[in-house]
């Protein structure tokens, strides 16, 4: 009978307080903002459900004030029919003259999520169209959902947004005897977040309130961390509770979570006769040596199993059985990792399915030891006599022993019987990732270039090339044009000279038309400059930038452009060679002539992947020195006497 008052409290009794419109922010207070978020509140009530199982009612309330004639976010509730249900959606609008009206819910529509990366899950979304609103209007939405299974669930709340936030709040009510755990972080720091208010409620409940006010919108820049990572954010979950008199606990440490993951994988990794036969067939011609076997099985899985995700209920964390993956030839990341794990068992090689957050350049720190936190991907840790090798069989053509860039430097949790501590994947190095572009171009008397190119890439730099020959469709010439570093070039013909899927490197060769190799004068003078010929290696570090910058990976890039000029062209004295050495990278630019051919060679080794806010001035100076070298020209004089 406790359920009814709760539902009443949270649904039919959803209330909209009277607002003092005159006291609310005005456009002049936030001249850059399209709207201001007056309130962003998550209200959670944990309680025993009618079957005694713990559940949570979550009320998400957003209140906006429109400051410019712009669009407001659409009112959409995502839910998973296995884990949650929508109890109610409601809202109101208040026009500048104070006219208040309830949100029209008759236009709401509910549909499967049709996620592009997941073929099927039980995720749906219900959307209520935003009504047309004038500047100065208030728009408020309230969604109440019930979490039917709180065990894997973590409440995530950011105390900031893309626009200014006046009041951001998390209110949590729970039986006083139940334990909560929360963690809060800023961009690169853990924050000790204590409730701004903690109070007892009737029925032996406690209410905790976490609040922040007047949170500014943050700027965005290329290569910067997402806003979610830079605002203060918190994760909160139930740590210990009771269900029908039985005490329950969530994993209390990474080790406990590791052991839980292990249990969830074990019955999915059964070696069946079909799997044993498949592994033996793969290994039939492979030397009896653990690394060679692991390599062969890894490549077999990458090649054979296509990516397809079907995630129903706990299927978001628990893989399909390896035998089904084998039969169907498809699976998602955890299916592929578990399949490889199972085949390795046949070969007598130990391995551990490994949870990881595939990042965007900013590896994510571990927060709460919950299934629903921290990780978005699964790879495999293969325990070889020479040490543990991480392998990501979801990738298609990453050589064994290497990881794709978004798995590198990442916090990982190996699933083991007794539980493992957190570990970190190794970084990729500028030696592993390299790309060399060579252009040999002949100029005609009008300064137009025509010639050949050769691109060799390895490591992460090779991935785009490999993906093209494995997956690509459409004309290769059109694709190649977009991958040249030579500016304004056209590709009349091209082909892959080396294209083994697990080869260390790829080679693409072809012909090139390059009309802008030189900047020509109206008379005889022309400039041959690296900055006009090829793409820059420098990032966008504007003077007013206040955000960190991250390359996705470290690499070594080499560019060689050989320009053969007509006999009648005089070539000026070549610029002095440049060599720059800094914590951010090593840079070298050199010029040489041989007969009527001028060759410039540029080599850049990125040695620091992340540029912190504090290091931006020094980094900017380094990259400006590079730019200065690249605008220094060779002067060509056309129309002279033939040599």
């Amino acid at each position: 009978m406790r359920l009814l008052p709760a539902i009443c409290l949270l649904t039919s009794c959803v209330s909209f307080p009277k607002l003092e419109l005159a006291t609310l922010p005005k456009p002049a207070d936030f001249p850059d903002a399209k709207y201001v978020i007056l309130l962003d509140e998550d209200h959670v009530r944990f309680q025993p459900g009618k079957n005694g199982k713990a559940e949570a009612f979550v009320t998400e309330r957003l209140r906006f004030k429109l400051l410019k004639p712009a669009d407001l976010p659409t009112f959409t509730v995502w839910y998973d029919t296995e884990f949650s249900e929508i109890i109610s959606m409601s809202g109101r609008t208040i026009l500048p003259d104070g006219t208040e009206a309830p949100l029209d819910l008759s236009q709401a529509w509910d549909r499967p999520s049709f996620d592009s990366s997941v073929l099927f899950s039980n995720t749906r979304l219900k959307t209520v169209p935003t009504p047309p609103l004038p500047v100065g209007a208030i728009y408020e939405t309230v969604a109440v959902t019930r979490r039917k299974d709180i065990e894997p669930w973590v409440l995530k709340h950011s105390f900031g947004s893309v626009e200014p936030v006046i009041e951001s709040r998390v209110v949590v009510e729970s039986p006083t005897a139940w334990k909560l755990r929360w963690v809060a972080r800023g961009f690169d720091e853990t924050v000790d977040l204590t409730p701004t208010k903690e109070e007892p409620l009737d029925g032996a409940f406690t209410r905790r309130t976490f609040e922040r006010r007047d949170v500014k919108a943050l700027p965005t820049d290329p290569g910067a961390p997402s806003l979610w990572w830079r605002h203060l954010r918190m994760g909160l979950r139930l740590d210990a509770w009771s269900e029908n008199g039985v005490d329950r606990r969530a994993p209390d440490s990474p080790e406990a979570l590791s052991a839980l993951n292990w249990r969830q994988h074990q019955d999915r990794a059964e070696v069946t006769p079909e799997l044993a036969a498949a592994a033996k067939e793969v290994l039939a011609t492979v030397p009896d040596e653990p690394e060679a076997k692991a390599r062969a099985l890894y490549e077999y899985v990458c090649r054979r199993i296509q990516y397809c995700a079907i995630e129903i209920g706990y299927g978001g964390w628990v893989p399909h059985a390896a035998k089904d993956v084998h039969a169907n030839r498809w699976g998602d990341c955890k299916d592929k990792a578990t399949y490889l794990h199972t085949l390795l068992k046949v070969a007598g090689i130990e391995s551990s399915p490994t949870a990881i957050y595939a990042h965007d350049g900013y590896p994510r720190p571990f927060e709460l030891p919950s299934l629903g936190d921290n990780f978005n991907h699964e790879i495999l840790a293969i325990h070889l006599p020479s040490g543990t090798v991480y392998a990501d069989p979801t990738t298609r053509a990453v050589p064994f022993g290497q990881l794709p860039w978004n798995d590198a430097e990442a916090t990982v949790l190996l699933a083991t019987r007794d539980g493992s501590a957190l570990a970190t994947t190794p970084p990729t190095t500028p030696e592993q990732n390299a790309e060399r572009h060579q252009y040999a171009i002949s100029l005609d008397e009008a300064g137009r270039g025509r010639g050949t190119f050769r691109i060799e890439a390895r490591g992460n730099n090779a991935t785009a090339y490999k993906n093209r020959f494995i997956f690509g469709t459409g004309r290769l010439e059109r694709w190649a044009k977009d991958h040249l570093w030579l500016k304004s070039a056209e590709v009349p013909a091209t082909r892959f000279e080396r294209k083994g899927d697990f080869d260390t490197s790829t080679v693409l060769v072809g012909e090139v038309l390059a009309p802008e190799v030189v900047t020509r004068g109206f008379g005889q003078m022309a400039l041959l400059r690296v900055s006009d010929m090829v793409a820059a290696v420098t990032p966008a570090l504007d003077e007013d930038r206040s955000t960190p910058f991250a390359w996705r990976w470290l690499d070594t890039t080499e560019t060689e452009v050989s320009v053969t000029v007509p006999p009648s062209v005089d070539v000026s004295k070549l610029p002095a060679d440049t060599a720059l050495d800094s914590p951010f990278g090593l840079y070298a630019l050199s010029w040489r002539t041989e007969g009527s051919t001028v060759t410039v060679t540029r080599r850049f080794v990125r040695t620091q992947r992340t540029l912190t806010k504090d290091s931006l001035p020094a980094a900017r100076a380094f990259f400006e020195a590079i730019a200065a070298a690249e605008v220094t020209p060779v002067v060509l004089r056309f129309g002279g006497q033939p040599r």
Binding site: W109, D110, R111, P112, F114, R329, T473, P515, L527, E543
Partner: protein, 645 residues
């Protein structure tokens, strides 16, 4: 085997019906592929058909059938193994089956357990879906599936969407309808004949097929896909109530607009709560009323950032200050009608925005609602009022509308939900609106150490002003910095921007833009006693027209216009321009350019002017355009020489 497959279909669909549209799997001979014909393709569609069945005997119903067979040539084709079939809560999937034909000739059926359903949608607007993934797909596999969705109503019309990015060997379309239905179909961009026949049971059938369709590749300046892809549309013209009487559905353009006309003229709920009215009481005549009412709607609302065909609650839209051209047109028609002005609505298609066929009435061809005021006392000639642009004078039309024809319509005998729509095609005449001009005025100074200091003022008029206004409203400060980076980057890797700011945009007066200062050290090069000054300061232009090959026709959109770039460059003290380029003036259909340079007391003034003329030009025309594009490119790729005085 065929019977067994039909049973499979029953099981997959989970219900006890089937469909006469289902033809069963294709013969193996039809599933053979010569991969060498498609060296660049990840997959080839060996067969696709779209079939429709319209029933009026017994309960009204429609069935829509899709049959696909696709050969996987590269791993990029594996994505095609994932199949999603969405359908509304009022529809059912009555046939769903699939199989994989493996390279070794074996066949793997999609079984019922392979098919997943999300049927949690309950409301009339909600959607549900079925999903499956073909098992054991390999390179060389052929994936074949078909589904039939049944709807408890007669679909009145439909048109084909794009066939996608892969080549298609054979495509078939078929429409079968009850004897009582009269329908028509049209093929675009194909010369294959439509076969019309009557089945033994009296039903009508229309069908056609296409063969060997090339893969669709995207390309800059390409026309809307409707201009290039073979495609169909069909519609039901009418329903034979008896041998003597036919009730028209979508026979004429009047039928097409009838629902809209009835809503506009007689649906009081459409105007519910729309209580505001312009002050017209002082107006002596219709023209004054039109002028004042139009000025009122423009003043009270803005279309900036609103989809032109949006139709939301009119009162809410009006109060919000943002309304679409369609919402504005409905309000203006109502207001003028109440004021005693003879007023109609018109529908048209913005020039070159999509392919249309006058002979085939369908709503989908329209993308702009206009107000049409016929000639009447005080109005000598009809006034066409397009309420999308903010900057046009009364009677003026943008280049996308001016010169088009519009279907002018009205309602006769209207009571609530009733009335008969009348209409006719009429030319949409009007004066031109402000020209679409982008004018970059660059004042630059070359300092004694080779540093470039420049101020760019970028101003836009016409439709472009409104686009920039929209951008100004939507862009965050970070977005604006991205714009400044885009403007600065091509000048020099050492170039830096400062003092960037939006202009006070006023689209109704037809102008919007921004300004930015740019400094670039080491921009000019000292060579002997002279300065060499590259023209990288000029913005790159027409980059999408530089390629040496062209796959599609060239589409210059209606928003195209004139680009003017003026660079006033002060030379360092004691230097003068040694030589200037010759004037370049050239024009071909679609593009005119004029490049001039002149000395000024303090340096030089360089002007680049180019005008694009909207239209769709055959791809061979690139041979004429490219020389002009090359001249513009070469202009930017030049060096000025400044010699000592």
């Amino acid at each position: 085997m065929t019977r067994a497959l039909v049973m499979t279909a029953f099981l997959l669909a989970g219900c006890g019906t089937t469909s006469s549209l289902s033809r069963g799997y294709l013969d193996r001979a039809a599933l053979k592929v010569d991969a060498s014909k498609y060296p660049d393709a990840a997959a080839v569609v060996l067969y696709r058909s779209d079939r429709y069945l319209l029933e009026t005997t017994g309960d009204d119903a429609s069935e829509q059938h899709r049959h696909v067979a696709v050969a996987i040539l590269k791993e990029g084709g594996f994505d095609l193994a994932e199949v999603r079939i969405p359908f509304s809560t009022r529809q059912d999937i009555i046939v769903l089956k699939g199989r994989v034909l493996q390279p070794d000739g074996t066949i793997v059926e999609v079984t019922p357990k392979d098919v997943l359903s999300d049927t949690n949608g309950k409301g009339e607007r909600d959607y549900q879906a079925r999903f499956f993934r073909f098992p054991n797909v390999q390179l060389g596999s052929v994936l074949e599936y078909e589904w039939v969705v049944r709807s408890p109503w007669v679909i009145g019309s439909d048109d084909q969407d794009t066939l996608g990015e892969f080549p298609v060997e054979r495509y078939e379309f078929e429409l079968v309808g009850s004897r009582a239905l009269v329908f028509e179909t049209i093929e675009y961009n194909s010369t294959k004949p439509i076969e019309v026949s009557q089945l033994n049971d009296g039903r009508h059938r229309l069908r056609f097929s296409l063969e060997n369709l090339a893969a669709r590749e995207s390309e800059e300046w390409m026309p809307h896909w409707t201009f290039t892809e073979p495609r169909w549309s069909w519609r039901v013209l009418g329903y034979k109530v008896s041998t003597m009487v036919t009730s028209n559905w979508y026979r004429t353009w009047e039928d097409i607009v009838e629902g809209f006309a009835r809503r506009a003229w007689t649906d009081a709920t459409l105007y519910k709560d729309l209580t505001e009215r312009p002050e017209l009481s002082g107006c002596p005549d219709a023209r004054c009323k039109v002028e004042k009412a139009r000025a009122w709607i423009l003043e009270k609302t803005s279309t900036i950032g609103v989809d032109t065909m949006r139709e939301k609650d009119l009162a809410q839209a009006f109060k919000s200050g943002k309304a679409s051209a369609r919402e504005r047109a409905l309000i203006l028609r109502k207001v003028l009608d109440e004021a005693g002005v003879d007023v109609k609505l018109a529908l048209t298609t913005v020039a070159y925005s999509r392919q249309t066929a006058r002979s085939f009435p369908e709503w989908e061809q329209f993308n702009r609602v206009l107000v049409y005021v016929p000639a009447q006392p005080s109005i000598d000639a009809p006034l066409v009022i397009d309420l999308e642009p903010e900057h046009c004078a009364l009677g003026a039309l943008t280049s996308g509308i001016r010169g088009q024809e519009g279907f002018v319509f009205w309602l006769e005998g209207g009571t609530v939900g009733q009335g008969e729509s009348k209409g006719e095609w009429r030319p949409l005449d009007g004066a031109p609106c402000s020209e679409n001009v982008s004018h970059d005025r660059i004042t630059a100074r070359l300092e004694g150490d080779g540093t470039l200091q420049a101020r760019v003022e970028s101003r836009h008029t016409g439709d472009r002003a409104e686009r920039w206004e929209q951008r100004k409203l939507k862009d965050s400060p970070s977005d604006f910095r991205e714009l400044l980076r885009w403007r600065t980057g091509p000048i020099s890797p050492l170039a830096r921007y400062s003092d960037g700011r939006w202009h006070d945009c006023a689209p109704r007066s037809g102008e919007c833009g921004y300004g930015v200062s740019i400094g670039a050290p080491r921009y000019a090069v000292r060579n002997g006693g002279r300065w060499l000054f590259p023209l990288n300061l000029s913005q790159p232009a027409f980059e999408g027209l530089r390629g040496f090959e062209r796959k599609h026709d060239i589409h210059i959109p209606a928003t195209a216009g004139t680009e003017i770039e003026e660079i006033e460059l002060d030379a360092p003290t004691g230097f003068h321009a040694a030589n200037l380029p010759d004037v370049v003036a050239d024009a071909v259909p679609g593009l005119a350019i004029r490049l001039t340079a002149e000395r000024t007391p303090r340096g030089v003034k360089l002007t680049r002017r180019s005008t694009l003329t909207p239209g769709i030009y055959p791809r061979e025309h690139i041979a004429k355009l490219r020389p002009l594009v090359e001249k513009v490119r070469a202009w930017r790729n030049t060096v000025l020489t400044f010699e000592p005085d």
